[in-house]
C-alpha cells in the first residue's frame, strides 16, 4: 500500500486511490464541486487544487493518483491563492443572486466564496445570461447559476441510466439542458437537485417554500417502500417542505427515489382524520366479548406491531394483514426501489410468521391502517360489513371510518417516533419531524391504554420488545443511532 505524507503526517492509502479520496478519508478538508463519491471523477471544476511534491504547479487532487512518498499540502498561501483564482473564474458569469436562490445557506459556491475570496471581482464586461426553464416535471434550471460541474449529467448517465441531461454550448456559454421533447423524468430525477453544488437545479416542489436556515431538519427514514432510505426531513411551520437523502452505505448509498421524496402530501390532506370517537378502553371492552379479529397494516412501526401482538394474545384474536405491493424491483446504482410499498413487512413476518389475510366472519373487528393510499380493499370491506362492532385507526376519512363505532385517528410516520425493519432486516429509527394534528395521539399511547399497561414512550416499548423478540435482541435506540443496525439472525 502506498504511503503518502498528508500535510506532514504519514498516512497509508489503498492502492488506486486518488489524492482527494485520501484527503477525504483522512479528514483533510479539500473544497470541490465536480467530484462526488458516488460518481466517476471528472476533474473539470479545478476547485480541489492541492500542492504535491511531484509537480511544480498545483494539481487537481480528484484526478491525481497516490504514489509512494508523495507529499501533499492542502493548506497554505499558494493553495489558497489557487482556490481564489478558480473562484474568480467561476464567479465571472455567476449572478450571485443568493438572496433569492433556494440553495443559499447550503450552497458550496457560497461557502467557498465566503471562505476563500475577499469579495472582489475584476470582471468588467457583461455577464452571460443563460436559460431559466423547467427541465422536467420536478426539476427546474437556473442556467446562469450553473458552474458546469457535470455532476447532474454524470448522475443521469451512470446512476439513473437515462442520460436526459447534457451540457450544451461551449466556453462560458456552456449550460445544462435536455433534448427537445425529452424532459428529465426518471424515478430518481430529483437526486440531481441534491447533487448540484449550486442553486442551478431546483426541486420545483420546494421552490420558494423555505429559506433553509429557518427550517428544522430531522433525521428519519423514508416509509414509502421496504428499502427504508435514510432521509432528512426539512420542516417549517409544522409542514414538511422536502426530504433529502442521508448517506447510508448499507441501505441507499447517496440516493433516494422521487416517489418517496414527494410522498408527503397526504399529511396535510383535507380528508385527514383528526377527530376520535370512543376510546381505546371501549375497544378493549368490546374485544373481550370474544370472536374478535384484528387487521394490521405493515405500515405500523415495530413498537406498534409488538403492542398489537400482545393485544391479540389478550383478546385471543386472529391477526390479518394489509399490505401494498406495486411495480417491480428497480436498481439505480446503490439504490434498490422495492415493490413492497410498506416499510415494515419484514418485521411483521418475523413477529407473526407468514402474513395471513383479513380474518372473515368475526363479530368484532379492529383495523389499524397506516397505509396512506390504501382505502378499504374489498375483502376488508366485506369483513367490516359482516362485523357488529368496528374500531378503526386510519389516516384519512373513508367508508370504513364512517361505519366504525370507535375511531382512533392515526399518526403519519413523520409525526411519531418508532422503528422499522427494512427488507434486509435492518432496524432503523424514524423520528418525529412535525406535530400531528391537535387531538391526534401516537398509536403507542392508546395501544398501551387498550392493554391497560403503564404508558411508556416508543423507546420504552422498544426496550420491552427487544427483551422478548429474538430478532431485536440486544438492540436499543442508542445502538440504532442514525444509521440503524442489522437485526439478529440477519
Amino acid at each position: 500500500m502506498p504511503k503518502i505524507k498528508l500535510n506532514g503526517k504519514e498516512v497509508e492509502v489503498a492502492p488506486g486511490k486518488t489524492v482527494l479520496q485520501a484527503c477525504v478519508d483522512n479528514g483533510a478538508f479539500v473544497p470541490h464541486y465536480c467530484w462526488h463519491p458516488g460518481l466517476s471523477p471528472a476533474g473539470n471544476c479545478r476547485m480541489c487544487l492541492v500542492k504535491v511534491s511531484n509537480s511544480r504547479k498545483l494539481e487537481a487532487s480528484c484526478m491525481y493518483p497516490c504514489s509512494d512518498n508523495l507529499e501533499v499540502t492542502t493548506e497554505g498561501p499558494e493553495v489558497a491563492k489557487g482556490r481564489q483564482d478558480v473562484l474568480e473564474f467561476m464567479l465571472i458569469n455567476h449572478p450571485l443572486d443568493c438572496p433569492i436562490c433556494d440553495k443559499a445557506g447550503e450552497c458550496d459556491l457560497q461557502d467557498y466564496t465566503y471562505a476563500y475570496r475577499g469579495g472582489v471581482s475584476r470582471f468588467r464586461d457583461k455577464k452571460v445570461i443563460k436559460h431559466t426553464k423547467d427541465l422536467g416535471p420536478n426539476v427546474r434550471i437556473w442556467g446562469s447559476r450553473c458552474i458546469a460541474c457535470t455532476r447532474c449529467v454524470r448522475f443521469c448517465e451512470e446512476v439513473a441510466g437515462t442520460g436526459e441531461l447534457c451540457l450544451v454550448n461551449r466556453g462560458d456559454h456552456s449550460v445544462v439542458d435536455v433534448f427537445p421533447t425529452i424532459p428529465i423524468d426518471n424515478p430518481v430525477s430529483l437526486n440531481v437537485v441534491d447533487l448540484c453544488p449550486v442553486g442551478a437545479l431546483i426541486d420545483r416542489n420546494f421552490l420558494y417554500q423555505a429559506r433553509v436556515w429557518f427550517a428544522r431538519e430531522t433525521e428519519s427514514v423514508c416509509a414509502s417502500c421496504a428499502r427504508g432510505c435514510n432521509v432528512k426531513i426539512t420542516a417549517l411551520d409544522n409542514r414538511i417542505k422536502r426530504m433529502v437523502p442521508r448517506v447510508n452505505a448499507d441501505v441507499n448509498t447517496w440516493w433516494m427515489c422521487d416517489e418517496g421524496r414527494l410522498n408527503t402530501r397526504y399529511l396535510a390532506d383535507d380528508r385527514r382524520l383528526t377527530a376520535s370517537k370512543g376510546s381505546a378502553r371501549d375497544l378493549d371492552a368490546a374485544a373481550r366479548k370474544g370472536n374478535f379479529g384484528i387487521v394490521l397494516s405493515t405500515y405500523q412501526t415495530i413498537e406498534e406491531m409488538w403492542l398489537v401482538k400482545r393485544l391479540a394474545e389478550a383478546w385471543k384474536a386472529p391477526v390479518g394483514f394489509l399490505t401494498l405491493t406495486r411495480g417491480e424491483r428497480k436498481k439505480f446504482g446503490g439504490l434498490v426501489i422495492e415493490p413492497d410499498k410498506t416499510p415494515n413487512r419484514r418485521f411483521a413476518e418475523k413477529l407473526f410468521g407468514e402474513l395471513k389475510p383479513v380474518p372473515a366472519g368475526c363479530k368484532g373487528l379492529f383495523v389499524l391502517n397506516g397505509i396512506p393510499e390504501l382505502e378499504g380493499p374489498p375483502e376488508l370491506m366485506a369483513a367490516a360489513n359482516g362485523a357488529e362492532f368496528l374500531a378503526v385507526s386510519d389516516l384519512r376519512k373513508g367508508p370504513l371510518v364512517e361505519k366504525a363505532q370507535v375511531v382512533l385517528p392515526a399518526c403519519a410516520w413523520a409525526e411519531k417516533d418508532g422503528t422499522f425493519m427494512n427488507v434486509d432486516g435492518r432496524v432503523q429509527r424514524i423520528r418525529k419531524a412535525i406535530e400531528p394534528p391537535a387531538a391526534v395521539r401516537a398509536e403507542v399511547a392508546w395501544l398501551q391504554e387498550a392493554l391497560g399497561t403503564e404508558p411508556l414512550s416508543a423507546e420504552g416499548v422498544f426496550l420491552q420488545a427487544a427483551k422478548e423478540v429474538p430478532a431485536l435482541a440486544g438492540l436499543d435506540y442508542g445502538k440504532l443511532g442514525n444509521q440503524g443496525a442489522a437485526s439478529n439472525g440477519h
Binding site: 438572496p99 429559506r211 429557518f214
Partner: protein
C-alpha cells in the same frame, strides 16, 4: 465660618430664569405636530419602484436580520419577467418590533423603510400586524 453655598443658589436661580424665557422643550401635543428628527425609526413601509410595483423580492433577509422575529413572509413566483420571486404575503407585527432598523439595513433591494410615523394607535392587537397592502400603501 459656616459655608451657606450662596453661590450655588444663585446659579440655580439663574438656570430657572433662563428656561422661563428661553426655547421651550415641551410641545402642545396634539395641537402642535411633532416632527421627528431625520432618520427617526418609526413604523415600516414597503417601497415601490417607478412602475408602482413592490420592490421587495421576498428574499427574507429582513426576516433573517430581525432580532425580534416579527417579520413573516410567504414567497411565490413573480408575474413580471424582470424578477423571479415576490412576497405573496408580508406581515410585520409592530407590537413585537423593537424599531431597531436592522430590516432596512439588511434589505438588498432598498424595499423596506422605517418611516417617521411614531404613533401607536390601535384598539386590537391584530390592527398592529401590518400586511402587504397596508405596508405598500403607506
Amino acid at each position: 465660618m459656616t459655608n451657606y453655598n450662596i453661590g450655588s443658589l444663585f446659579k440655580g436661580m439663574f438656570r430657572t430664569f433662563q428656561h422661563l424665557v428661553g426655547k421651550k422643550a415641551t410641545l402642545e401635543y396634539p395641537e402642535e405636530k411633532y416632527i421627528p428628527r431625520k432618520g427617526y425609526r418609526g413604523e415600516h413601509r414597503l417601497k415601490k419602484d417607478e412602475q408602482g410595483r413592490m420592490k421587495c423580492v421576498a428574499c427574507f433577509m429582513c426576516a433573517t436580520a430581525c432580532p425580534a422575529e416579527c417579520i413573516r413572509i410567504v414567497a411565490g413566483p413573480s408575474p413580471w419577467p424582470d424578477r423571479d420571486k415576490i412576497p405573496v404575503s408580508f406581515e410585520i407585527d409592530l407590537l413585537k418590533c423593537i424599531y431597531c432598523g436592522m430590516c432596512e439595513e439588511a434589505c438588498p433591494c432598498d424595499a423596506i423603510e422605517l418611516t417617521p410615523t411614531f404613533t401607536q394607535i390601535a384598539t386590537t392587537r391584530e390592527e398592529k400586524i401590518y400586511d402587504l397592502q397596508k405596508l405598500m400603501n403607506r
